[in-house]
């Protein structure tokens, strides 16, 4: 599996190496089911010893993901991508199943106990977003500073005049809610068109989306581009009228930032998590209720007033620049 986490780890490694440090990624495989396997793998991580290599101390350990961030080290700093969400904000969520196992509650309690007890042992606790910090505070009572980092190849994004489509780049996944966007599309007043790109990893959900696009006769208003290259993606951002990104409680979300870099307004939802830290309603995009009606109204509103959409896009880029999202600041904090 390769996703945002792998991109982030590789980006961090490259920046550390560029700053003159010797940096290497250690990836521990993790399989979260059946639930008792989670406990095994937490223990496995606790048993590893990364304090030295061949007699030379490892000066700093940067932990990113559960349960690997539990590996002990005297100079560990955690930059949390997210906790094991099934045991926290996604507990009893219809898309997850930890709670359906007889031992689900016990395993959840063990995860909570491990995080609450072991995370404070690190000498620094950071997260990738306010959203992740907020969850950590809510569920574990721990304070952590959010540290934003730029998307991959941030310097390569550019803008072009808007063409007649909204762009939704994301894995085709229930948590990204392409289904909600398709339901909304059926309710727009204007002939809004959407380009979707991103790999489909869940065949069931892909079929759901295909059915929705078919049912309402939306075929010629929807394009499925599948997995696209980074160059194609930047071109699609640049030529779009605006970007759709209404996931459910996203940890961080590069798409918001990429849209801002491409000077495009972003439509997101009130429950989308990470994107809400960046999108300002009616200044750099639209924050809609997570309903087909509200999303449809948001799409119509961008579609109908192109000049305003353009201005919001420019304001989004300005906001990105004002935020000083910079790898150097991340590294400085992680190595302080």
């Amino acid at each position: 599996m390769r996703g945002g986490a792998e991109v982030l780890a590789e980006g961090l490694r490259r920046v550390l190496a560029g700053a003159g440090h010797q940096a290497e990624i250690v990836a521990i495989p993790f399989k979260p089911y059946p639930p008792e396997r989670i406990l095994d793998q937490m223990l496995a991580c606790r048993l590893l010893d990364l304090s030295e290599v061949a007699g030379m101390p490892v000066d700093r350990l940067i932990g990113l993901k559960f349960p690997a961030y539990l590996i002990p080290h005297p100079h560990k700093v955690i930059w949390m991508l997210h906790q094991h969400r099934q045991a926290y904000d996604l507990w009893q969520h219809p898309l997850n199943d930890l709670h359906t196992y007889a031992n689900g509650g016990d395993v959840r309690a063990s995860i909570h106990a491990a995080d609450t007890k072991l995370l404070p042992q690190s000498r620094g606790l950071f997260t990738i977003s306010r959203n992740v910090s907020l969850r950590l505070k809510t569920y574990c009572g721990l304070d952590a500073t959010p540290l934003y980092h730029p998307p991959q190849d941030a310097g390569c994004f550019y803008t072009r005049p808007a063409e007649n489509f909204l762009y939704f780049p994301s894995r085709i996944d229930p948590l990204k809610r392409q289904n909600l966007v398709l339901e909304a599309l059926a309710q727009t007043r204007s002939q809004v068109r959407i380009y979707f790109s991103g790999p489909a990893e869940e065949p069931g959900f892909e079929r759901t989306c295909a059915k929705l696009a078919h049912k309402d006769g939306l075929e010629n208003r929807v394009q499925w581009l599948g997995a696209v290259s980074e160059e194609e993606k930047r071109d699609l951002y640049a030529r779009s009228l605006g970007v759709l990104f209404p996931p459910l409680d996203e940890d961080y979300g590069y798409i918001t930032l990429e849209a801002m870099l491409a000077q495009k307004p972003v439509i997101t939802c009130t429950d989308s998590g990470g994107p809400l830290e960046f999108v300002r309603h009616h200044q750099t995009g639209i924050v809609a209720e997570p309903t087909p009606e509200a999303l449809a109204a948001a799409m119509d509103s961008l579609w109908d007033d192109r000049e305003r959409a353009r201005q919001w896009g420019v304001a989004g880029r300005q906001r990105y620049d004002d935020l000083h999202i910079d790898w150097d600041i991340v590294v400085e904090n992680l190595l302080a």
Partner: protein, 349 residues
């Protein structure tokens, strides 16, 4: 097929094991499989950390990823090869050597010096004996590694040779006046013995050494010996070199010197054969002895300065037979049919 290659590694350190793992993944992909490498960090000291790492590997679950079955696991290095999987093949690079043949080695032995060393040694041996046979098939990288596995654990493992990286790019060339010795600088590779051998030569033989030192101390010992034996004019110390430089140095040498102590396998031997060069190795060198045929593709000397010196003199004065041995080495490499296609086929069958 979805295949996971599972190995142990020490972060920041790359050697033959890492190269083999990378090349195996690439060969699997070329054969149309979905292959990925997992490297579990391993720190072998103090000794009581070893059982922790064994347990950690036993606790990992590589049966599936996101609900999709992993069809095969190929385990390479201790203790990662002990990670359970219903469809596991082990391709043993080597066991934890200081619990076995290097237990009481005068310089390499480490466990033996700790109070809990014997207990940890027995734990490692027991884990290997009981858990290696869980694998559907056990291969090793050489006869040498198979022999040790049979001798210490009573387990049969079939040797399966693999080509060195970029095997197709090695080529022969006219012999200049030097022997080539590419290797990490370490006691087990015995650069020091070669320097002493050089001092015993009757001819003005010359050696070019390439490779970085494991520890600054290893390098210092060689430099001191060169100075002490006044060999400065006959030794060239190249340090780290690129793969291209390495191939050129092979192509233009008179012969390759590779006299390590009990090497598991040894890509250097194969690279020399690919470059049509004779190899000087020693009677206790392990892996190289599976390839070097004495007086046909090289010379097998005793591990003494005198014997090594004689072997160097012999090739130095008879360039024609040195060249002939090199050609015979290349022919022998071809005869052995060493290929990644074959290795992948065996590992997945």
């Amino acid at each position: 097929m979805r295949v996971l290659v599972v190995t142990s590694g020490v972060p920041f350190i790359r050697g033959g094991g890492e190269i083999l793992a990378d090349n195996l993944c690439r060969a699997l992909s070329r054969a149309g499989h979905d292959a990925e490498l997992i490297s579990i960090p391993f720190k072998h000291y103090p000794p009581n950390r070893i059982p922790d790492h064994i347990l950690a590997c036993r606790l990992l679950d590589l049966t599936e990823a996101c609900g999709v079955r992993i069809d095969r696991v190929i385990g390479l290095r201790f203790p990662a090869y002990l990670t359970p999987h219903p469809n596991k093949t082990i391709w043993l690079l080597h066991q934890h050597r200081t619990a076995y043949e290097l237990w009481d080695h005068r310089t390499a032995g480490d466990l033996i010096h700790y109070p809990d060393g014997p207990v940890i040694r027995d734990t490692i041996r027991q884990a290997d004996r009981e858990l290696i046979p869980e694998a559907k098939a056990v291969y090793t990288v050489s006869k040498n590694v198979s022999d040790r596995l049979r001798r210490f654990c009573g387990i049969a493992g079939e040797p399966l040779y693999s080509p060195p990286a970029h095997a197709a790019q090695f080529h022969g060339g006219p012999a200049d006046g030097y022997f080539f010795f590419p290797s990490r600088v370490s006691r087990m590779k015995r650069q020091l013995l070669v320097i002493e051998g050089l001092a015993r030569c009757r001819e003005k033989t010359r050696v070019r050494f390439a490779g970085e030192a494991d520890h600054p101390g290893e390098l210092a010992a060689c430099v001191e010996a060169i100075r002490h034996l006044k060999m400065e004019g006959r030794v060239e110390w190249l340090g780290w070199i690129s793969e291209e430089q390495k191939r050129e140095l092979y192509a233009n040498c008179l012969g390759v010197i590779f006299p390590p102590e009990d090497e598991n396998y040894g890509y250097v031997t194969l690279e020399a054969m690919l470059s049509s060069k004779p190899v000087i190795t020693c009677s206790d060198s392990g892996g190289p002895l599976e390839f070097v045929v004495d007086r046909q593709t090289g010379l097998v000397a005793d591990p003494t300065p005198e014997s090594l010196g004689q072997a160097m003199d012999a090739l130095w004065v008879d360039r024609r037979s040195a060249a002939a041995m090199g050609e015979a080495g290349r022919a022998r490499y071809e005869d052995l049919k060493i290929s990644w296609e074959h290795a992948v086929e065996k590992l997945l069958c």
